[in-house]
């Protein structure tokens, strides 16, 4: 288990750097993060299941200007680890799946506040950079940038350890306390969550032209699957 957390911390550091500080090549997206976390904690497929739903949930919140969206990377760290730990040989049951997706919102919000804190500390680093440059330090900018980068990375590693630890704790000790009936009842909420993701994509892409197209495609795909199932 210690090796799993060590690997998770390394992966988390990379993902959190990609989120804001470096590259932004989308390694931090839940669709990528959760399956890898799932693989680290023993079940790639369960992590992927959670990642595919989390991917779209927060997409409607754009990182425009100084606004910081909920930390969907952190939610995926939690979700991937929890899904792998909670899954059995037949996969993840609907009650656990819904519970993990809904509880991941707490990590997403906590991660957002941590991100704000990092950016405030970076403000101090930027001030120091200017001061040192005025004193004639020619390496001030390079050192300042590296300090910011390390800060983002360290916070990423710390958040990953916290979220994956919470995920494993939830899956091992909290979820098993509820019986199969409770799991079934909680599972009723599950369809409402991916539909929130579909609505988030619709809100992002909404124009006069796209509105009818969205509902028409939804109807066509639904009918096509219904027809196919009827045929079979």
């Amino acid at each position: 288990m210690a090796w799993s957390f060590l690997l998770a911390a390394a992966w988390g550091g990379i993902c959190y750097l990609d989120r804001t500080a470096a590259f932004q090549v989308m390694l931090h997206r839940p669709l990528v993060v959760a399956p890898v976390m799932g693989a680290i904690f023993g079940n790639f497929a369960a992590g992927a299941q959670v990642g595919a739903v989390l991917e779209l949930l927060y997409i409607v919140r754009l990182p425009v200007g100084a606004s910081i969206p909920p930390d969907d990377t952190g939610a995926a760290m939690f979700g991937g680890a929890a899904a792998a730990a909670a899954s059995s040989s037949i996969g993840l049951d609907s009650g656990n799946f819904a519970a993990i997706l809904l509880l991941s919102v707490l990590c997403a919000e906590l991660g957002k506040y941590a991100d704000r804190l990092v950016r405030r500390v970076n403000g101090r680093i930027a001030h120091l950079t200017v001061e040192r440059l005025e004193k004639g330090d020619s390496l001030a900018v390079e050192n300042g940038l590296m300090a910011g980068l390390v800060l983002f990375g360290v916070f990423g590693v710390a958040l990953t350890l916290l979220f994956s630890g919470l995920g494993v704790f939830l899956a091992r000790f909290l979820l098993p306390r509820f019986g199969p009936e409770s799991h079934f009842q909680f599972g009723i909420l599950l369809p409402a969550i991916p539909l929130l993701g579909a609505a988030a994509v619709f809100s992002c892409s909404r124009t006069d032209r796209t509105s009818p197209v969205f509902y028409l495609t939804m109807g066509c795909v639904f009918s096509a699957i219904f027809f196919f199932r009827w045929l079979v």
Partner: protein
Amino acid sequence: MSDIPLRVRRRVWFRQFLLQACWNYEGMQNVGFAYSILPALRDRYEGRPEEFSRALKRHLEFFNTHPSMATVILGATIRLEERVAEGKVDPRAVGTFKVGLMGSLGAIGDSYFWGALKPMASVAGAILAFVHPLLGIAMLLFLYNSSHLVLRYRGFAAGMGGEESAVRFLKEAGFTGKTEDRKMIAAILGGAYGGVVASHTAYLFGGAWMELGVFLIAALAVHLYTVFFRKAVSPSEVLVLLLLIGTLILWQ
């Protein structure tokens, strides 16, 4: 043509990936921009430490734009700095140029990358993940980065061609049309994703009329969520509401 050596340009190009490494509320991307342009300034002001220091301070002023669009400004600013170093342009023109361009490029980038390309790539990845998770991951990374990395590179090259070349690049790139197209694809794929989810739910309930009912409820739910988003309700708030409902169900 620019006199900046190729090795210096390469260093600037790699450094621009760290534009947001010291993102802060006061200067935003200021430290990142100064860090990116540093090799070019060192090359231009070699043996002139005071002018070099003044030039570097110019780039520690407030700067914020979309990170993928910053390469255009970065390239064009290097060209401008070359002329400042030669004494052909007033140094104050550098700040004016950056401020003039960063707002509009930020708006274009936010709309194209965050508002259209990312949702399109994400939903395409999420749909393919139903087939196989690795396919989904590959599709997301390919769709986003094939556009993102190319635009970063072409933007930098256009900027290095000077201000006119940068403006020509922005005109020819056709961001408005591309944004519209990607939003349309995202809407189609988002609809398909919603249809698959509704169909899967309907299957669990069984019966033809029941399935139709589930579809209508799903479409209504999507519409309701969209109204919530328009009223500035965040997805987190909706999820917390669902969590409370779940807790109440368990309580009973």
